[in-house]
């Protein structure tokens, strides 16, 4: 009896994995929708939050700050409905790597800023300590979700699956 435990677990993996993918997809969708939604109401502030990283000229920071919330919302919608999941996961992963690099570089340069990940952002007030490590760990968690979807993009209840008109195959050649 006890010998079969690992075997059944291994046997369950193919059945469980697609649904784990759905959970990862919806989780990452929620991250982008919340992140974009928090910033979309004040695009000028979003630009200032980008500018606070001091990695690009002010004019470029305002462009990035204005475009980013809408791109995040669009990514959230793509993941929510499961359209072009692998591409959305790849773009998500790329963005997260940029964010993590930005936070790490702000940390290493000794800047005292809020990451601006979910709104707010900019320099911190007196007595407020930056929380770079938790921010990086959180983003690494999101990156893991994106990585899962990048590896196994086909998930149940998705437009991708509906377009393909077939259950996910074991030997996908995408």
């Amino acid at each position: 009896m006890t010998v079969t435990a690992p075997n059944t677990r291994a046997a369950r993996w193919p059945a469980v994995r697609p649904w784990l993918g759905t959970v990862a997809r919806l989780g990452l969708a929620a991250v982008w929708l919340v992140a974009g939604g928090a910033k979309v109401g004040d695009l000028a502030a979003s630009g200032r939050a980008v500018n606070a990283y001091q990695v690009m000229p002010y004019g470029a920071a305002t462009v990035v700050g204005a475009a980013l919330p809408f791109v995040e919302l669009a990514l959230g919608v793509l993941l929510l409905i499961g359209l072009a999941t692998r591409l959305a996961a790849a773009v998500s992963a790329a963005l997260l790597v940029v964010f993590i690099t930005g936070i790490a570089s702000a940390w290493s340069r000794g800047l005292a800023i809020d990451c601006g990940c979910f709104g707010s952002g900019g320099q911190l007030g007196v007595g407020q300590a930056p929380s770079y490590l938790p921010e990086i760990l959180r983003d690494l968690g999101f990156l893991a979700l994106a990585g899962f979807l990048l590896t196994w993009p086909r998930t149940p209840v998705s437009v991708d699956g509906w377009l393909a008109g077939e259950p996910p195959l074991e030997d996908e050649d995408e």
Partner: protein, 238 residues
């Protein structure tokens, strides 16, 4: 005998190849569509942002030549103060170091350029930072900038609240001796809102990312205590 089976196998291989090719093409086109969606989303953001920006502004009387702040006094050393009327640390700063700054101005040692930036619009439900800053422009027009500014810090609303209403701002203005009709219509029309935007943009360009920021002759002052500011002004005046 086996040729029939071969033909069937060959047909199956061809069918599979066609199906695979179809899948590949579909995956390609969904990817292209998704990229287009993302690019359009970014362009929408940029367009919305551009449409929100005002191209022209009128600085209120009493502003410095670039129109980025209100000048108080005429001493040789310049103290730049970047503050948001909603920022609690700014209120603290005004309470502890405000009298020292005023003393330096009245002694003729320094002049103040006060930049009422609107960094914290997200922390009120009614864009209080922009409204209060624009109202301070109206107060400058009426010649009561400093009095109105002090009164705003004294009555500072909590972060996350709706802030003071325009009517309350007008009452405060009338309380410090501004003409209720002129000041009132200026606040209600948001006459100086484009100016507030200009002040805020310029502060960001100057590398100001938080409030309060204090500069003496263009150099950041870390120690914002009365002693720190006195020392910085003394050093700059030499």
């Amino acid at each position: 005998m086996s040729s029939g089976k071969d033909r069937r196998d060959a047909a199956r291989v061809v069918r599979e190849q066609i199906a695979r090719e179809k899948r590949r093409r579909r995956a390609l086109w969904t990817s292209v569509a998704a990229v287009v969606v993302l690019v359009i989303a970014g362009l929408i953001g940029w367009t919305v942002f551009r449409s929100q920006k005002s191209d022209t502004f009128t600085a209120p009387p009493g502003a410095n030549p670039p129109g980025t702040g209100i000048v108080l006094g005429e001493g040789p050393v310049t103290i730049d103060l970047y503050e948001d009327y909603l920022c609690p640390v700014c209120k603290q700063f005004q309470q502890t170091s405000g009298p020292t700054v005023n003393q330096l101005v009245s002694d003729g040692k320094a002049k103040v350029v006060f930049h009422p930036v609107a960094f914290l619009n997200r922390f009120s439900t009614t864009e209080y930072s922009t409204r209060s800053s624009a109202a301070s422009g109206c107060a400058a027009q009426g010649g009561k900038f400093r009095e109105f500014s002090d009164a705003l810090f004294a009555r500072q609303p909590a972060e996350g609240s709706a802030g003071l209403s325009n009517d309350e701002l007008i009452d405060i203005g009338a309380g410090v001796g501004l003409n209720r009709d002129d000041f009132g219509s200026c606040v209600k029309d948001g006459t100086y809102k484009p100016w507030t935007e200009h002040v805020t943009d310029d502060a960001s360009k100057a590398g100001v990312t938080g409030t309060p920021t204090v500069k003496v002759n263009g150099k950041d002052v870390e120690d914002r205590s009365p002693e720190g500011i006195t020392a910085a002004v003394a050093a700059a005046g030499k």
